[in-house]
Assembly symmetry: C2
Homo-oligomer: 379 residues x 2
């Protein structure tokens, strides 16, 4: 193996595949980056058990003198290329023992790892040649995921809830996330050949979003039984899917609202933020409970009370006059701020059905996006 490569291009690709490089692992071989050099292109591959990423370099950036392959400690290779102050580097394997990385004034010799120890990588479109890809536009896809992914469960009590449900039917693609205490849902128009349904782990989506941040255009998506592959330009991103039945969430979303309150978004956000400073923390779910009350004089009071520290109260005047009953409701302030954050409009509306009933946070500017929050009982 012997090639010359443009450092910027190599670093770009290393930054992508780094997303599947585990920081610690019970399988040390996964700390390696697999380098495969062919006649006129090369592949860089990483895999952390959940995600596999492969990125291809070809064209002018690469000048292959000898094909070959090697496996090398990922962290060190990335650190070196990041710090090398050179336009091009030369890389070659010496006596099957060392990967030599040479620039004008620097020479690094990295011990190679045993290539044959690396797990066999085969992407779903190679295993199953008959898989038809679905074409997805990068920008609306990553925006939609960002708008709802925070509502997935962090703990593994119900593993299926640690992922996002993607469901396509009736020409609608819906994105659903819930941790059992809140639910976020986005609906988009979509044109697919056939219906599909899959649950992608939120952790994998986080890495996928990072890669998509720099990518405009279409992604090809190959869905298999327990894996999905995204083809993003010259990069393959494959993740396992979560198995099991995703709960039917349609029953949770209330529809018969007795009270609508329209807020100036920033004002509500800041009031919640301040009141949360003193609100009692629920250790287990790490949240702050605050109380929202509609007073008799039709203003809104947001408050929290903490025996050890003190009390906080904020008064907000809603945008429109409130029609509906007087009401007191308690909830996790983080759930409300997460929901508001994903609705960057000038105002947000909260719709209530009753004091201990789930309520909806939404905005006219985002008709396809809604957040449902389950209240907590007030003492």
């Amino acid at each position: 193996m012997n090639f010359k490569i443009n450092c910027d291009e190599l670093l770009n690709k290393l930054n992508i595949i780094q997303k599947a490089l585990p920081s610690k692992t019970s399988m040390p071989v996964l700390m390696g980056i697999k380098i495969d050099v062919y006649k006129d292109y090369m592949n860089l591959t990483t895999c952390n058990g959940d995600i596999t990423i492969q990125s291809k370099i070809s064209g002018e950036a690469l000048e292959v003198n000898e094909t070959g392959r090697c496996l090398v400690q990922g962290k060190f290779l990335i650190d070196i290329i990041r710090k090398i102050n050179s336009k091009k580097v030369e890389m070659f394997v010496y006596e099957n023992k060392l990967l030599i990385i040479k620039s004008e004034r620097s020479e690094f010799k990295l011990n190679v790892m045993t290539y044959e120890d690396y797990p066999d990588i085969k992407f779903v479109n190679e295993k199953n040649k008959s898989l038809e890809p679905i074409e997805i536009e990068s920008y609306p896809f990553r925006t939609s995921v960002k708008e709802i992914v925070f509502a997935t469960a962090l703990n593994e009590k119900r593993p299926i809830l640690t992922g996002v449900l993607f469901k396509y039917e009736n020409n609608k693609l819906t994105y659903t996330a819930t941790d059992g205490y809140r639910l976020s849902k986005k609906e988009t128009d979509f044109n697919g050949a056939s219906d599909f349904k899959m649950v992608i782990p939120a952790k994998s989506l986080k890495e996928l979003l990072n890669i998509l941040e720099d990518f405009e255009g279409n992604i090809k998506c190959y869905i298999d039984n327990n894996k999905v592959l995204f083809e993003i330009g010259s990069t393959y991103f494959e993740t396992r899917l979560l198995e099991g039945n995703y709960p039917d969430t349609s029953r949770i979303i209330p529809s018969d609202f007795g009270l609508f309150i329209k807020f100036n978004r920033d004002e509500l956000m800041q009031a919640i933020d301040r009141v949360s400073l003193l609100s009692p923390q629920d250790k287990e779910r790490n949240y702050s409970i605050v109380k929202l009350s509609v007073t008799n004089n039709r203003t809104i009071e947001i408050s929290s009370s903490n025996q050890e520290i003190g009390d906080a109260t904020e008064e907000i005047i809603p945008i429109d006059n409130i029609e509906g009953p007087v009401l007191k409701i308690g909830f996790n302030s983080k759930y409300l701020t997460d929901a508001i954050r994903s609705l960057p409009s000038s105002d947000v509306t909260i719709k209530f059905t009753g004091e201990i009933k789930p309520f909806v946070v939404c905005s006219n500017e985002y008709p396809d996006l809604l957040h449902v929050i389950l209240p907590v009982k007030l003492n």
Copy 2:
């Protein structure tokens, strides 16, 4: 106690006194901020055992309706004032139990702590009225401290080395820091009434530097037996001094150099940085050992070797021709990068006396600043 205060001014002062608010402590009372309100000014005071800070607010920012005092959880008071979106707040104590903080739309009630539990604060200039202050200019003082403070010891094996020695004699003020493996020293012209000598803990200096960052002009410095007080505008900053004899460092500084090498500073810095990527870490002192060699063809090679990972070599061509013997020397790369960082000139010079002798890092542009590094034995 009852007053109205400008929020920005209050926050400014809270940000200053926060530096002596402990994040955790065995004396919970120190988590409080002491507020003393007088007829036309108020004091905010914090103390973490090592440092005491008191900041005064007076003038237009403050409107006192009733004098008084209270002690309140510092963290919460600061969080609230930081997030209050209001020009002014009103603060008053209610029934000796609650501190009420009121702005246009918000009301916070913080439980007060027992004021009488707070330690008695008396600054050295109040205890000893005959103490004469020394006037120090803020800018050169903080610059000099920054140039050498990193060389103090982190561990407490020799407590005196965790501080910086300030010594004034013969119209020279010298700043010295050493951890036993390297030494940094700055000499400045100074005009004082009488000689002095004190060792200030590096931790205290770090907080002092933060406060001085926003302060131009003169500081008054009152030195007592075991404490020093800095009067910085309307702020008092007092810290304990380290007791014990600071070692005589004059013997460590070599003077008879056989070899001078002048480097392009950035080139040297980057080479060291890259080579350190692979250098072996000394667990105990958390350092990377690199080797510098003068080769027969009069270029410089910087290298490191790590059995587990691999080797790195950099070649540097010095600015001037090297006169002197061939040489190989090993050292902690962090010590060299720390030294280079404090010399932001276009070139730096390293002066050697021999292979296992301390060497000096300096720059013509900073004639009053020098760094000495002790080498490590090479295998």
